[in-house]
Symmetry: C3
Subunit: 276 residues, 3 copies
């Protein structure tokens, strides 16, 4: 479970680029924090860009004050993290590489302050202690701060008819990134469309749960040593299993992967689009 923190550390690290880091290391070209509120979740090399354009570039060494230095082999940049289909094989490898490098930070919690000064809002419309705390632990381990709500559905104006979009427009004024858990499929995409800051989908109804799937595939790779050519059985309530759906999309990026969907007929996998 610890790896959740690491993986998310990874995505967070790339999520909110830090001007302090840029000034510390000329080799690091994370985009400066956009004053215009253009969104960017990115990690890149010498030609980092901000905003919505997405470039591929090679990264050189990334150095963080008083933290173990680590290198980023490849670039990944997203406006938001909404669904597993966003990640191609090259991006996944880059994320794994950063995640491995950051395991040292996890083991030396006082090591990193790379997200110092940044605020993450964990907006949970559906309670999930484990998922919420994994994001919050990652943020704190990297020196960032957290605004949290355990149960926005019950504890907010949602009951009074306030829309998700209303809430997002408010919370984006308070924070640098929003982690959203919602009970409706598609909610994360709606939030991302509304928000001028990055949104990470931490599970939306029976939709997707991409960061959990990133953790799962990272764990499989670490335990088995490879992802190409493996056989994976996905067992249980596949109709409503958002994590399983996200994981299947990620596994489909690798060669000769066999996925066995095992479930009672009534909750079998409803749809799954595989595009080479």
């Amino acid at each position: 479970m610890t790896a959740t923190s690491m993986l998310f550390s990874c995505s967070m690290h790339v999520g909110v680029s830090n001007p302090m880091m840029a000034s510390k290391s000329s080799a690091c070209c994370l985009s400066n924090r956009p004053s215009s509120h253009s969104k960017s979740i990115s990690s890149c090399g010498q030609f980092g860009v901000s905003g919505k354009s997405k470039l591929l570039c090679r990264a050189s060494a990334l150095q963080v004050e008083s933290a173990p230095s680590f290198s980023v082999g490849q670039k990944f940049q997203f406006d938001d993290v909404i669904e597993a289909q966003q990640f191609d094989r090259e991006t996944l490898n880059a994320i794994f590489e950063v995640a491995r490098s950051m395991e040292n930070i996890r083991n030396n919690s006082s090591g990193s302050q790379m997200l110092k000064g940044y605020l993450m809002a964990t907006l949970f419309y559906e309670p999930s202690t484990r998922t919420r705390l994994s994001f919050e632990s990652a943020m704190r381990r990297l020196g960032g701060d957290v605004l949290t709500t355990e149960n926005a559905r019950e504890f907010s104006s949602a009951a009074k008819g306030e829309t998700l979009e209303d809430t997002i427009r408010t919370v984006e004024g308070y924070s640098d990134i929003i982690v959203l858990r919602h009970f409706e499929s598609g909610a994360a995409r709606r939030a991302a469309t509304t928000a001028s800051i990055p949104v990470i989908n931490a599970g939306d109804g029976p939709g997707q749960h991409p960061t959990q799937a990133l953790l799962d595939i990272y764990t499989i790779e670490r335990e088995i040593g490879k992802l190409d050519g493996i056989k994976v059985g996905l067992v249980g309530d596949l109709a409503n299993g958002r994590t399983v759906r996200s994981l299947a999309y990620l596994l489909a990026k690798y060669h000769d992967v066999k996925i066995y969907f095992v479930s009672p007929n009534v909750v079998k996998m409803k749809y799954f689009f595989f595009i080479g």
Copy 2:
């Protein structure tokens, strides 16, 4: 909505004066943190005072380490923030001036640490994600820390018969300032009477919501460019609208303001005392 943070940043900044700042800048005369637990929410110039006495004085430049410097034109000092009637025109202008100066801090979140080492308790007996997160965001943006409860009514000993006063006496031992949201009108005043540390009313039943009203009037002034001579329509459930009541009190401080109360008869504004 972002301005909520700023405005509150403003009131927080003045809420808990910081000895570190005083030592950094002789031009700043915020009162030192009172060891005797005498309360003071203040911002003042060269003749700052602590405790409950309230002096008016001109401020000189206020400099904060590694933050954009800003100046405070006039002094404001409160033991607590309970109702809109506490604010006169001069005070409102002083608050607006600080708020404008602090917008730069908001845009450079790593800029300020002026509340480093201070703890704010957000004690919410009634859930309100937006209001709570606005206070917490402001506190964190200024380097302070937060103790939070989303739903003290359900999650505390309130159900077991513990009084608000009991809870306040406990929480004042944990924190430097209390932000209270309560379901009963007058609760904030009761808390302030009990507490030896400052209390900010973040909405008390159908009573008042002064910080929300400060945000509203600040926004009106920024959008329209003036407050004297404006016409404002207040529409909706005015009988129970605490923010509307607080805003009406603030607007009444300006010249030639016309307020139109628009509501069904059954929820019309019940009382409103205007004292020139």
Copy 3:
């Protein structure tokens, strides 16, 4: 109530030893943070040990950067804090000594950063605002950070059949120490058996509440000036009063203490083992 923070500050300070401190002061021999995840809640002198072995040693001065220096007269070391029976008279005196020394830190909240970089998870399966905030305040006053859940019973997968052990195995990956409040007697011991990091019992059903009892006995000693030879009446629902049970165990460590259990027959103290 404030003393709760102090006492817990004390136990936290000894809970997670800080390598930064060790490097600052050769007189301090707190065990370095164990990379192998061996647990230790300890404060000791020149011969500090990590892991589960428990040694007694005299401590010399303990100095913390920019905090009032304080000395630890005697050593105390626990893997976990589960029940009052763990504390002998010598240990209690050592804890009181540290608590008295740390009152200065409480009064100068920006003074200490001795737990900087450490994360405490407050895992509350039963709401208790006062107990939870006391732990969180102590952690923040010492520079540490907090992951919090107000109501894990309702807001987690507990409702879906996830066991306490499952949750502990997850949360131990996120944090350095777990403070557990649970509705079942014995839950804290089960959690401690599972966890590789220290667990503090913040109340487990009708079982025990050792840190609250530490506060109570510390307060009695401070108010009356002694613990030997005192007469104490414990009044109320003694059958279900976990704090009363824990306090009785602590009081039994002192000489000539008379405890009067006062309760209706139906809720009288069920069992209490006194071992000289």
